[in-house]
Symmetry: C2
Subunit: 551 residues, 2 copies
Amino acid sequence: MKQIEFQTDPTRYRHWKIEVDGDVANLVMDVDPAGGLSDDYELKLNSYDLAVDIELNDAVQRLRFEHPEVRAVIIKSGKDNVFCAGANIRMLGKATHGHKVNFCKFTNETRLAIEDACENSKQSYLAAVTGACAGGGYELALAADHIMLVDDRRSAVSLPETALLAVLPGTGGLTRVTDKRKVRRDLADVFCSVEEGVRGKKAVDWRLVDETVAKTKWDDAVKTRAAEIAARSDRPKSAKGIKFGALDRKISGDTITYPNVRVEIDRERKFATIFVKGPAGAVPASVEAAHALGAKFWPLAVARELEDAILHLRFNEGKIGVIVFRTEGDAKTVLDHDAFIGKHQNDWLMREIRHYMKRTLKRIDVTARSFVALVEPGTCFAGTLAELVFASDRALMLIGKRDGDNRPPATIVLGEANFGFYPMGNGLTRLQTRFLGEPKSVDRAKEKIGATIEGQEASDLGLVTFAYEAFDWDDQQRIMFEERVSYSPDALTGMEANLRFAGPETMETKIFGRLTAWQNWIFQRPNSVGEQGALKLYGSGIQPTFDKERI
Amino acid sequence: MKQIEFQTDPTRYRHWKIEVDGDVANLVMDVDPAGGLSDDYELKLNSYDLAVDIELNDAVQRLRFEHPEVRAVIIKSGKDNVFCAGANIRMLGKATHGHKVNFCKFTNETRLAIEDACENSKQSYLAAVTGACAGGGYELALAADHIMLVDDRRSAVSLPETALLAVLPGTGGLTRVTDKRKVRRDLADVFCSVEEGVRGKKAVDWRLVDETVAKTKWDDAVKTRAAEIAARSDRPKSAKGIKFGALDRKISGDTITYPNVRVEIDRERKFATIFVKGPAGAVPASVEAAHALGAKFWPLAVARELEDAILHLRFNEGKIGVIVFRTEGDAKTVLDHDAFIGKHQNDWLMREIRHYMKRTLKRIDVTARSFVALVEPGTCFAGTLAELVFASDRALMLIGKRDGDNRPPATIVLGEANFGFYPMGNGLTRLQTRFLGEPKSVDRAKEKIGATIEGQEASDLGLVTFAYEAFDWDDQQRIMFEERVSYSPDALTGMEANLRFAGPETMETKIFGRLTAWQNWIFQRPNSVGEQGALKLYGSGIQPTFDKERI
């Protein structure tokens, strides 16, 4: 399969248009049927595949950073009679199990990014639904804060996956129906089994949409509602956005190099190392100076590059089962940057940057790879970069130093970023989740803010899994990696998906835990993906044959 | 496959012994290798299959009802050198996917019943672990309130499933490690990938067990701890237990008849109807009179019979995809019995009965069948029996009556039982879950306690999905059943598992949602169940071959 590329920009979009009009933007979905990732299927009726969602993800990010003036985003269709028909069924029918699973994970992240924009950037989305809004189409609308549905006796919202395809809505639909829209369970049951969906007043009564509007009043109503939403935002009126230039990425053999991130793949041993560099220079003198740096400002640059690296490994390097985090640089400048971001949280851009890094770290939390952090001399696991330690399944730290190494011993340095900048999907910080059974350890860690914590102390504080002296280090590491890659990738995926999310569950963790896990199960069942299954036979005119055993 | 029978009693146990000694009972696991459900495997090393767990479930129930004097239960092994080796691997290797899934569900329910006894009956469990305590063995220990591990340099606790079998611990292990024991995620990761497990002081430090005790002091220490636990209980000292006689059940063709429950299976249309009868007589005159009725007291009898019917359908009637609830009898006597139970909650038996019905209703919540309640004239969906309406995926109610039917119109009557007797796994009542988006509807319903609510009003109050008049009734019902049984059973299972649990998640819902769903997925992966998979090859000396793709 050819490499999947996550970088794009509006000049290259084939499926979306961003139309900015003052403080309101239209995000218009107008899918090019021939613009899918593969030629095996046509993206008819505004159906989508990963190519479409990569553009949507890009648009959602850019709207936040390049358009601070935009306070309301209207998602609408550029086609007549159809809002969006959902994920392309032929694509799903032909895709490997792995691609389906990763596709759904990415589309889920994109929808959560839309909700994150509503909640944390006050850039709120309004879904203006005209025409059929089915499956993934309705799931897209569900990500918006407000759903309007035209009342034309035809336009309807639906989740026909169970009835038509023998699968579940794969992008959070069931969870958002019950937990965001809070649709009554029996009505949700009816809704999710009615192919034609629900329209008009009933859609409002069942809480599936927020309002319906007659066709004659539609354009005005959407405009009015968008203006109301925009008026409630706290985004700056006259701020100037920053430009997301293309990432400066070089791929050479098994090394991928960005300015602040480097990925090295060890195919034989089946792991990849992500090196993250600390800031090259001092923190900017002022917020204005940070704005002037734009996408080159270290905290933002590193979030973008790290995100791209993670997505690349997820989709293009399926057999690389372990990802190692290393860092290079100076702890103090990392902490200085964190402090700068923290101090200027009322600046729209600094706020955006924090949330971007939060989302990037969350991508790690739901990535089906084992993560290991290696804390050695010369690394700078401090503040934001220390989160990589806490996002890892295990962290190993060297006590003291190796013979002949003149650098000071490895340290971890905690900063304010570790105590609230980056909540996980479960609503807790990574340290709170880590210390669920011993909340005092969070306080103990907090008292160490700014201190250099060496190996033994880091182990005593519970910040790393194991600390080893130099004579043990290489062996322990080797054994761990060998062991890890010898295990079944599936069992590891399931194990990690459970161990990473202790404590409370939120709509977000339910989507990735409960719903996704069930969907992954169903995506393997012969009733959907077998030769006689509904996903395979859809559109062929042949009825699927189901094994009626209930499991 | 021969029919699986859930009824047993201690005289027939082959794997467990209950030894009561004052206020402490020993529950001794001593599995008969030849006593499994099938001759295909031997239950060596105190490993278990469903046959063993059916006895455990029976023992846990009887300890609560037959032994009110027992305040602490010590789970221990009757074998040297092994506490419990977990679920039998050969059994898992040979079992169908459906059997594995249903086996895990039942064992999960049993462990939750142990925790329910600790929490709600103050009959607390202590796991006294000597010897190897692996996989399902450790999961059994995890269900106890307190885990003691002998410190003999050999005895260890472990969850080696990922490393040895390429599956997950299937009985709540991962969730209890992170959410009950609150083991730090990275230590949990190590623990769950180390075949040999963790023993001694480290097991305490990591919070895997509560204490270790040297072998020389073991017996005394266990006795002392059990006595301490018993001393904290509020169970009555001198109460007399009631006897669980064998259920009076007759199977005749496709009809199963109990005194208060009747099951009729319609194989052609692939659904079963469970008729639940209201109490035949008036409420007892006193608590003493209720005790004298013992297991024949209607609320207890109906909980037992309903539970047996549900389990029977789950395991022995896999192709019956829809279960219909109907009731027969008088609403007032149901409500009188509820009121009696409610009034006497400080009586140990009345408390037990309420929790038994709670657990039975929870079995419905996690049963992979579509449930439909039909509310017609002559039914008595009142109080406890109205919970069957709220536990159903849909409820249909007849407005008015049919021509020629002289009975009064169908009604639902709410009682105090609907507002707190039977919390779901998510900690909310079924009405609270139902009305998550409109909490005032719970209050509105509460104001109607005791009132007879006819079809249209029940629909207006949101208590039923649809109310139909007689001329529509038969068609609507027929269409619904035909539609339901035409869908993929797998998609329905996943859909229902998501729609039934709106709102908060608890350890219990995480076990059935997140963990079980991942396990079900893994139970289908070639890496575990394929011809080269770990589960198939275990014990053969041949190493499994894994597809290294991470999904």
